[in-house]
């Protein structure tokens, strides 16, 4: 391969956000006409790297060099990179549902004749582009009337309308079924034979193994290695090792678990998608939690962990179909969030800004928001008790804020998360479900949050931790379930848990119930 000319070289790219180094010294070499895969755990920096490349983060906001087609590129925005032939197709498709295929393909790029859009030419060109991606539809069909797979093809056709030289696909098959995925991969092979270069980000390692020529692995914002698939004889295990191979030491407080009996159990849980009813997001899932136990749920993004947690938490997601919840030996039916709270459940959401907190509130009213009855006397809220409760949690969790009158929007991510934890601890739960409890939080605050989680478990509560960071699950949890495509695919005790065997079960439908 080494005699093929280099199309793109990213040299020691470093990108910092306030408090976080998202990329440090990342190198990427892409040769013309190859399919280059980028692998890494969630948060390894793949998307950030692609945003640097496509000008979402403009030149000057990062350090390092981008050499493209032999000269240094300084993209100021997406338009600049698109003009150079670099087109990125995001995981969430950027199509307008109420517009036709042709309208979407030429959006912002409309063929004109004397100022007006030339629809005749547009439709003709659209048909041509659609043929190139193997899409057989009327160009007047609305986007919302075609499936996700075909929408993906429209996105690619849109890229061709811009004369693409380097096509970047971010998780292109994540939302596709098997047949559509296969069609897409065949298409990429076809592009390769016509000399179009592709960069592909994917979690589906079997697809990468099947299609990629080169693989660059990122971990914690650094380049780990670049593998040549054929020359190095790369297989899935090899990729996994590169992705997770890091030392786990002293990032977690010392903890001796005091595990009691099973007190919470979910049996044969089935839930359907709230909008497309044919999609089943929870497929007959069953799990148990013991008192004092920290239970992990491992899975890739979109595996259905959040959906499982929220549907258990008072059916706050999806359409409940069947399944039972047993707590302390009795079946309980949780039809609303209020029911769930009354029965001692707490759910700390993965997105604290969007659905976890009211950012207009101050610390004290956020702290008591989920159980106002606890500070009410004959229907009247006690401001003094509210203050005392909030102040007690502020001290206990060491939330950094001048007073509890401070608005939560002014706090850092870690301190906001502590307020959310306080809010749910205030409800005196028996079972806490923590969804990505350390997302977007710096290392020091993570350590503190781990300590809080362990203390909660030691008080005899059950704790469920959903996390995309495998080292976090392995370091924190007593037992880990793996979830893949809405089904529980494995259960691994802490002693047996390694990133490799977790990753394997998180990426395969094979039921490998090891004990």
């Amino acid at each position: 391969m080494s005699d093929v000319p280099i199309l793109l070289e990213m040299r020691s790219i470093t990108k910092e956000f306030p408090g976080v180094k998202a990329l440090s010294d990342v190198n990427l070499v892409v040769r013309a006409g190859e399919i280059h895969a980028i692998c890494g755990e969630n948060g390894a920096g793949k998307s950030t790297l692609m945003k640097v490349l496509s000008g979402v983060y403009p030149y000057g906001s990062y350090d390092g060099q981008i050499v493209y087609q032999g000269s240094e590129s300084k993209f100021s925005d997406i338009r600049a990179s698109e003009n150079a032939g670099i087109v990125i197709i995001h995981q969430e498709l950027a199509l307008i549902p109420g517009m036709s295929i042709a309208e979407n393909i030429f959006l912002g790029n409309e063929p004109r004749k004397r100022g007006a859009i030339d629809w005749k030419a547009a439709n003709r060109m659209a048909l041509d582009l659609m043929a190139r991606v193997g899409l057989q539809e009327d160009p007047d069909t609305l986007i919302k009337d075609i499936g996700v797979g075909k929408q993906q093809l429209v996105e690619i056709a849109k890229a061709f309308a811009k004369d693409v030289k380097l096509l970047i696909l971010d998780e292109p098959t994540a939302a596709l079924n098997e047949a559509d995925s296969k069609h897409l991969l065949d298409l990429l092979r076809g592009f390769r034979s016509r000399g179009i270069t592709s960069i592909m980000i994917s979690h589906k390692l079997n697809e990468i193994e099947a299609i990629a020529d080169q693989i660059t692995i990122l971990r914690d914002g650094r380049t780990v290695e670049t593998l040549d698939v054929k020359a190095d004889g790369v297989d899935e295990d090899r990729i996994v090792r590169g992705m997770v191979g890091r030392e786990l030491s002293s990032r977690f407080p010392d903890h001796t678990p005091k595990i009691g009996d099973v007190f919470f159990e979910v049996r044969n849980w089935n839930v359907r998608h709230p909008i497309s009813a044919e999609r089943q997001v929870c497929k007959n899932e069953s799990f148990v939690v013991r008192r004092g136990e920290i239970v992990g749920f491992a899975g890739l993004m979109g595996a259905g962990r959040t959906e499982l947690a929220m549907s258990v938490f008072g059916r706050s997601y999806g359409v409940y179909e069947s399944g039972t919840i047993i707590k302390d030996g009795k079946e309980i039916v949780l039809k609303s969030v209020a029911d769930a709270i009354d029965n001692g459940l707490a759910y700390v959401s993965e997105d604290r800004k969007a659905i976890g907190l009211n950012l207009l509130d101050d610390i004290k009213s956020s702290t008591v928001a989920a159980k106002l009855s606890k500070i009410s006397h004959r229907g009247v809220l006690s401001e003094v008790e509210e203050y005392q409760a909030a102040e007690a949690y502020r001290k206990e969790l060491r939330t950094k804020a001048p007073t509890v009158d401070e608005s939560v929007s002014k706090l850092s991510g870690g301190n906001q998360q502590k307020v959310v934890l306080a809010k749910w601890m205030f409800t005196d739960p028996d079972l806490l479900i923590l969804d990505e409890p350390t997302r977007g939080i710096d290392v020091g605050a993570k350590y503190e949050i781990y300590g809080i989680i362990q203390r909660l478990a030691d008080q005899g509560k059950g704790v469920i931790v959903i996390s995309s960071e495998l080292p976090e699950l392995i370091g924190l949890c007593d037992r880990i379930y793996t979830v893949f495509e809405g089904a529980i695919t494995g259960e691994i005790a802490r002693a047996d848990a390694t990133p490799e065997n977790l990753m394997k079960q998180m990426t395969s439908t094979k039921k490998m119930l090891t004990k």
Partner: protein, 432 residues
Amino acid sequence: MSRLKDLQKNLFGGTTSNARQFGMIFTLVAIVVLFQILTDGLTLRSDNLIALFQQNSYILILAIGMLMVIVAGHIDLSVGSVAAFAGILVAKSMAEWDLPWPVAILFGLAIGAIIGAWQGFWVAYIGVPAFIVTLAGMLLFRGGNQFIGNANTIPVPEGFREIGSGFLPEFGPNTGYNNATLLLGLAAAVAVVWREIQARKTRRAMDADPAPMWISILRMAIMVGVIAFASLRFASGRVGTSFPISGIILLVLVIAYSFYTRNTAGGRHIYAVGGNSRAAELSGVKLKRVNFFVMMNMSVLAALAGMIFVARSAASGPQDGNGWELDAIAAVFIGGAAVSGGIGTISGSIVGGLVMAVLNNGLQLMGVGTDRVQIIKGLVLLLAVAIDVYNKSQGRFSVIGSLMRPFRREDSAPPASPPDAEREPAKAAVSG
């Protein structure tokens, strides 16, 4: 400067929106003083003050309900029509079905509740945006009023008129003043002092230093002074006039709803829904119930406002309540509520409503025509909200803070960087 900061921080209790309210009250006082001068003292004369309250009590009652609707993230365009619809039915019930007037009032409130349930149903349970539901309601109930009343006016009996044009009764020794009004003023003064003492107690229970004593005393002195002035004015009007009954109704509602929105779980839930409905739902708030309640409550208050208006004008007509929704909405936004929901107070909305009322009244006293009054009111609304939006985009909520900014910059040492100078007032506002 620090005394002034103390003053700003403490003058109106201890919550975050105070700086904004301080600015509002400041504006209100300024407008009153301005018109007092421009109208050669007409503005604060007894008869004018009494008329001002009578003419605006129903708008202010609407503003209470509208505040809750807007805080929850909705809007209600139908209040004027609902008021007219309830008004005509109540008038008819007394004129043609001979309902005694107290029963007719209950009947009117029930009509409001039914209309509110209808609109609340569409908003909360079907999910139609409140803008659409109440736009439909606006047409529906305006038409309903004219259909039922045959586009005629229907007069209402003497007893019923009391709620709109009645006054506190005369009794006791002849003091030259209306004794009932004086007693009301006294009660209000006692309440102000009692509240201040309670507030200091609460602050101490929160291990926080209460405001400096001189501020507490100053605050009480100002409040008591204003109350004394107002009650003497209301008590010394023409014989037979005093503090209006509609003002009493308004006062009771303001106190009750302020308490509800600030000190009960139900009130908190309205703010939670408007602030972040998904987060509220995941905290156990029953979203639909809250939305249903605010819409229904609004229509009940609209029916009450309609009845007070009918009582004051002694008859119900086809054009009653035209444009009220806009006055109520303007009052709420001038009073500092956020268009996107989650922020706003009852007291702020009342002050906002009073700003508009005094402006209206003062301009009329000066002989300015309704055309120009409308132009000025429109500009005031735009300006008030623009200042608020601008302040938010600058990351601060304080009107006073922005007024003080130029001085502060001069205060700081020559090499001081502008960004720091700008951040200062923001901090002051937040800690307030």
